[in-house]
């Protein structure tokens, strides 16, 4: 089955038409408006929008104005659901004013974040009137905006719950309990993947993955039988393999993705030489 068929048979969602800046766009009913805007390449700045998690509305940057019965109301487009006749406008003077203050606040909250600097500069904000938060001991390198995506990915997607918010108010940070290495971390790196400001860091050192942002938590890596290279966190490999059919499992458990690819290619070539029928009809 092709991809197109799969998507059309998958969910028979009602199609609606939404209006963004006076132009009409198709959308699935209930679809997140920011998602529609991203798809249609309409620029709405955002940090905390992550399609794999429920909308949360933490960063407040994706503000739009909803026009309903002649009235306008500002709201976050990441928590707005597409419905027939929904009409929104972006970049109104009120939104620009609101958003520019937010950019200034973010420049102060995460002064080392290049992502934020670039995003703010795109909207003409290059300076902040607020006191910059510069803490040399910050394990997130003064790049974190506390949107909580890493905490939620760790909890809700991975089920690990290795990290959490610590303290309160201006003292809030994200880290492991007691700022010590934690056994709850799989080393999957989902936290780094979802981080909108690239604040979360980890690196692979030999047989270990070191979660430098998370109190130096160390996670052992799985080793490839063929090339001897380390390629994935061991615990994660084991738990992933549990869902895979036994015949595949052995092969995947032993080899890193590169060596596996090579073996598949080699097997294909050998099968082709043997005159076997092509499997990709």
């Amino acid at each position: 089955m092709t991809r197109k068929e799969a998507s059309s048979t998958g969910g028979a969602k009602k199609q609606v038409t939404v209006t963004i800046n006076g132009k009409k766009y198709p959308a699935d009913e209930g679809e997140i408006l920011l998602g529609v805007a991203v798809r249609e390449k309409i620029a709405i700045p955002h940090l905390c929008y992550e399609p794999s998690l429920d909308p949360y509305g933490a960063c407040r940057l994706c503000m739009v104005e909803v026009i309903k019965d002649g009235k306008r109301e500002m709201t976050t487009s990441c928590t707005l659901r597409a419905a027939e006749g929904l009409e929104v406008v972006t970049d109104t003077p009120a939104i620009v004013k609101y958003r520019n203050v937010l950019f200034e606040l973010y420049l102060a909250e995460a002064p080392k974040s290049e992502v934020i600097k670039e995003m703010a500069a795109r909207y003409g904000v290059t300076k902040t009137r607020f006191l910059k938060k510069l803490d040399t001991t910050d394990s997130l390198g003064n790049k974190c905006v506390l949107c909580g995506l890493c905490v939620r990915a760790c909890n809700e997607i991975m089920g690990a719950g290795a990290i959490g918010f610590v303290n309160r108010g201006p003292y809030t940070v994200v880290n492991t309990p007691y700022f010590e290495p934690t056994k709850d971390c799989f080393g999957c790196g989902a936290c780094a993947k979802v981080c909108p400001t690239k604040a979360v860091e980890f690196e692979d050192r030999g047989s270990e993955r070191v979660m430098t942002s998370w109190s130096g938590t160390k996670v052992p890596l799985a080793r490839c039988d063929c090339c001897g290279g380390y390629y994935a966190p061991k615990a994660l490999a084991i738990s992933t393999l549990a869902h895979i059919t036994p015949s595949l499992r052995e092969e995947i458990a032993a080899l890193c993705p590169v060596c596996r690819g090579r073996r598949i290619a080699r097997d294909e070539i050998l099968a082709g030489r043997g005159g076997g029928a092509g499997s990709h009809g």
């Binding site: 909890n155 290795a162 959490g164 610590v166 303290n167 309160r168 108010g169 309990p177």
Partner: protein, 161 residues
């Protein structure tokens, strides 16, 4: 805290919703602070991540993760107490106990004397504004407090000049 004591506390909460704060509060009341071992044990017993419990305990100023002194002095710094002179009370207490307020890295205000006899804390409001300024020592409330009253009050708890 030993396991049976913790089990007894947990047993008092049959509804999983909102029980964490209640349990943590009881641990704190029992021990004076929340010992690390208790938190780890609780996480295991309730099948809750340690990171979640640590978030809760560091969020609320009520919880302490470090042992406190024999007597805990809490000065109310709520609006009414503030305008009625609570900062002066706090300053006087710091002088008497020989400690200096320094909001620690976690943003909580809690200092313990070197001899571990007294811990000085602040609170936002006791709800006893009519008696402002108010302070509390080991659960006993002292209203209409003045700097002059302090030596006599503290003497009740073994303080010597």
């Amino acid at each position: 805290m030993d396991e049976p004591t913790l089990d007894a506390i947990i047993a008092r909460y049959d509804d999983p919703a909102g029980r964490l704060l209640g349990i943590l509060g009881e641990i704190q009341d029992e021990e004076g602070y929340i010992p690390r071992e208790s938190l780890a044990m609780l996480a295991e017993k309730l099948d809750v991540r340690l990171s979640q419990l640590y978030s809760l305990t560091t969020f609320y100023s009520y919880f302490s993760l470090t042992p406190v002194g024999d007597h805990v002095i809490t000065v109310c710094m709520g609006t009414a107490c503030h305008v009625k002179g609570a900062p002066g009370i706090l300053e006087a207490l710091e002088g008497m106990l020989g400690i200096k307020s320094d909001t620690s890295e976690d943003g909580k205000f809690s200092i313990t004397t070197d001899d571990k006899k007294f811990t000085l804390e602040i609170a936002r409001c006791f709800g006893a504004c009519s008696m402002a300024p108010v302070l509390r020592i080991d659960g006993n409330l002292y209203g209409y407090a003045t700097r002059e009253d302090l030596p006599a009050i503290l003497a009740e708890y073994g303080w010597e000049p």
